[in-house]
């Protein structure tokens, strides 16, 4: 094993739930989670389907190492067609939900069809039940979590739910589990709500066992935990500062996209950095950060648990926000902060809380607010459109107002909820959407980190940092240093990162381990746990297969090589300051070589030879 070899199929149209065996031939090729979930999506859906229609499917998939003692082995992914991009969506989440699902005996849940009225699914080991959820519709994720716990009378149940934003059709709604961990990107929460599925709760007491070679496995797990502990990033930087360790670093190298990517450095960066989260507040002497926190099985513990100053304007007289909850991670702090020009830590933390509370992707949300502020600055959006709100760059009030409106799906919040692409098209400036395939960029400017330009352009789920994190090499020197301002060699670097990451995402592990681990560290754990022989070479091959499968799905969905592009702002407007001053992103210097390395045609189509090489489905 360590697959449970069981799938739970839930037909929301006719209310039937059924158990079926996992396709182990596919597991041997696609591993699990991201890869295997996508294989099922490809098999069972038409890529041209309406992402928000009953024909789209929603797959919750764990990996073979999910629920085991391998460090970070607690993850699951949600796979479907994305309503934001029209491409494949695959959003990965930590917390405890994934391991609980595995412990209940399931590798995967496949939701199909659409319920006639709001429902939730409750799983207790082998038993799965669809339950009416009219009472939960219109509730936030946090309220839903509380009500389900009260209903099932079991404090140990884990809940994944969508908030009001998803119900209202926000195109970047997330699925939130354990109150503040998110399958965040590409609108997987929107798809869940479109099926009238409000929440999934699970209690698993069977455990994860059937380890192939237990003695070797436990030895390998202990050795590799030690590697994480001794690494400066995973052993010190991430526990102490979280991913926010990056804010000042990326600003200094001139790659912190600011004011909707007009600028590459943010004067307020230090105010919203990981270091700032440790500084005592004037009001109560406490820092923003209370403690770091781990997801299931994770020995890094990069998670942030934070509070907002009780006297801050965002939470005055709102005691429900006075306690601790999931705090700012780097991408969220960037999107809510630098992209909008807001440098007030409490406002950002509040916006982050609300994104968790009502299930929005803070990257797409913040970046869309940044685009709206850009449009407002140009006069394309006015106070008439917003109903009076001044959307000037840097306005904390505007950011807090926007997050509340999108969360509730009200007024101008409906427009921010469309994402930057549709918003900028509507207001006549499509070029101001800082997105690829309709999904907003995360926190690295490709003018200052060239490899990230190719990463964004070719990511199968639209702009994303988690598909090939070349920042590791270009800035941090992991596994070896490359020049962030050079395009040469980046095609190969991006491909290598993409394939390895696809394997990591398919095993059930967290990509943050890769600051310390390569596949050399993961293969022995995978091999000791799972049926078959798992070498580094096999993992790389599986990763490349997964990448090509996703690409193939997108091409069948109607995307083309022309969609592997960046906004003109990044290709034509040079960086104004910092080490990258005068540079644009040299995408055209990297893309042809990348296609060639991939074994694709010059216009980006997967060739017959490549298809055969990886035994892709027809």
């Amino acid at each position: 094993m360590s697959w449970t070899k069981k799938i739970l199929r839930v037909n929301l149209t006719n209310g039937e739930v059924a158990e079926e065996p996992l396709n182990m031939d596919w597991a041997a090729q696609y591993i699990g989670q991201r890869g295997l979930g996508t294989r099922y999506l490809v098999e069972e859906t038409d890529p041209t389907c309406d992402a928000l229609g009953a024909d789209n499917k929603l797959i919750f998939a764990t990996g073979p190492l999910t629920g085991t003692a391998v460090s970070t082995g607690g993850r699951y992914s949600v796979i479907c067609k994305s309503p934001l991009t029209g491409a494949v969506a695959c959003s990965n989440s930590g917390g405890f939900f994934g391991a609980e699902l595995k412990s209940a005996g399931w590798d995967m849940i496949i939701f199909e069809g659409k319920a006639g009225s709001p429902v939730r699914l409750h799983i207790e080991n082998e038993k799965a039940e669809i339950i009416p959820a009219d009472d939960l519709w219109g509730k936030t994720v946090w309220e839903t979590d509380k009500l389900i716990h009260a209903a099932v009378q079991d404090p140990q149940v884990r809940v994944a739910a969508v908030g009001r934003s998803a119900e209202a059709g926000c195109l970047y709604s997330a699925i939130i589990n354990d109150l503040h961990r998110a399958a965040g990107r590409s609108g997987v929460g929107t798809v869940m709500a479109s099926k009238n599925l409000k929440a999934v709760s699970v209690r698993g007491t069977r455990g994860v066992g059937n380890i192939k070679d237990p003695v070797r496995f436990m030895k390998s797990v202990a050795e590799q935990k030690q590697v994480l502990a001794e690494n400066a990033v995973t052993g010190q930087g991430l526990p102490a500062l979280g991913t926010q360790v990056l804010m000042n670093v990326i600003n200094e190298v001139g790659a912190l996209p600011t004011h909707n990517m007009r600028d590459v450095q943010f004067e307020g960066a230090n105010n919203i950095s990981g270091e700032a989260m440790l500084e005592a507040r004037e009001s109560d002497g406490k820092p923003n950060l209370t403690t770091n926190a781990a997801c299931f099985g994770c020995t890094i513990a990069c998670g942030r648990i934070s509070t907002i100053d009780k006297g801050h304007f965002t939470v005055e007289n709102k005691p429900e926000y006075w306690g601790n909850s999931g705090g700012l991670e780097y991408e969220a702090a960037w999107a809510l902060g630098a992209a909008t020009g807001v440098d007030d830590l409490d406002t950002l933390t509040y916006a982050n809380f609300v994104c968790n509370e009502d299930g929005m992707d803070p990257i797409s949300f913040g970046a869309t607010v940044g685009a709206a502020m850009d449009l407002f600055d140009l006069g394309a959006i006015t106070t008439e459109d917003t109903g009076g709100m001044d959307l000037s760059f840097g306005s904390s009030e505007a950011l807090a107002w926007c997050v509340e409106k999108v969360a509730a799906g009200e007024g101008f919040g409906k427009e921010i909820g469309m994402g930057s692409k549709k918003l900028c098209e509507k207001y006549g400036h499509p070029g101001l959407s800082m997105s690829v395939k309709g999904q907003e960029f995360p926190a690295y400017d490709p003018r200052g980190i060239q490899g990230m330009g190719l990463t964004y352009a070719t990511s199968n789920r639209g702009a994303c940092h988690l598909r090939s994190y070349t920042v590791a090499s270009e800035i941090l020197g992991i596994p070896e240093k490359t020049d962030p301002l050079e395009t040469e060699g980046k095609a190969g670097l991006v491909k290598a990162f993409q394939d390895a990451t696809a394997a990591v995402d398919s095993m059930g592990l967290c990509v943050f381990t890769t600051f310390a681990w390569s596949l050399d560290n993961m293969a022995p754990q995978m091999d000791a746990a799972c049926d078959g022989e798992w070498t580094v070479e096999r993992l790389v091959e599986a990763g490349e297969r997964v990448w090509n499968l996703e690409r193939d799905y997108n091409m069948k969905a109607g995307l083309t090589g022309a969609d592997d592009n960046l906004p003109a702002r990044l290709l034509k407007e040079a960086a104004k300051t910092g080490p990258a001053e005068g540079k644009v992103c040299g995408l055209d210097e990297m893309l042809p070589e990348y296609y060639s390395l991939r074994g694709w045609t010059p216009d980006g189509q997967v060739t017959r030879e490549t298809r055969q090489k990886f035994s892709l489905p027809a």
Partner: protein, 159 residues
């Protein structure tokens, strides 16, 4: 020398490595639901607290057991449940003031921490030393050291 589990909740990140190590050692599966040590999350407060049996000298569970299934392991000081004797009456779970003896419905027996026979796997698995296995007479040593470090020698000399 007897040793005890010493828990410093401030160091805990809530990762559940202890629960996995415990359940794997005792049940052969990674299964927090069957762990003898539990980590509690106090979400609003931002705190994680591991909790398990402290191996009372005058153990309520041991005294309450009608069939003498709970006996002290003289080498480790742990109160151990003899599965072959336990009848699953659960009186010990009522007697324990701390809730650290629990019924396992899969086996019909009770389960509690037995210090893994002197090599507790939770402490071994803990990545932050929130759980350590130390001299039973000196579980306060680290806290004493921390306070000692804060002592202002110069001030006390003047006093």
């Amino acid at each position: 020398m007897l040793r005890s589990l010493s828990i410093d909740a401030e160091k805990c990140t809530g990762c559940l490595q202890c629960e996995m190590a415990c359940s794997y050692e005792n049940e052969g599966v990674f299964n927090p639901a069957k762990s003898r040590i539990k980590v509690f999350t106090f979400h609003d407060e931002g705190r994680f607290v591991p909790y398990t049996c402290t191996q009372c000298d005058e153990a309520w569970c041991l005294h309450a057991c009608p069939v003498e299934a709970i006996v002290m392991n003289k080498a480790t000081g742990a109160m151990e449940v003899a599965d072959s004797v336990c009848v699953g009456c659960k009186v010990c779970t009522i007697a324990c003031p701390f809730g650290t003896v629990n019924y396992n419905q899969d086996t019909g027996k009770v389960i509690k921490c037995d210090l893994c026979g002197g090599d507790p796997k939770c402490a071994e698995a803990c990545p932050t030393d929130a759980i350590v296995y130390v001299d039973a007479d000196a579980t306060g040593l680290d806290k004493m050291r921390a306070w000692a470090a804060k002592t202002d020698n110069a001030a006390s000399a003047r006093g």
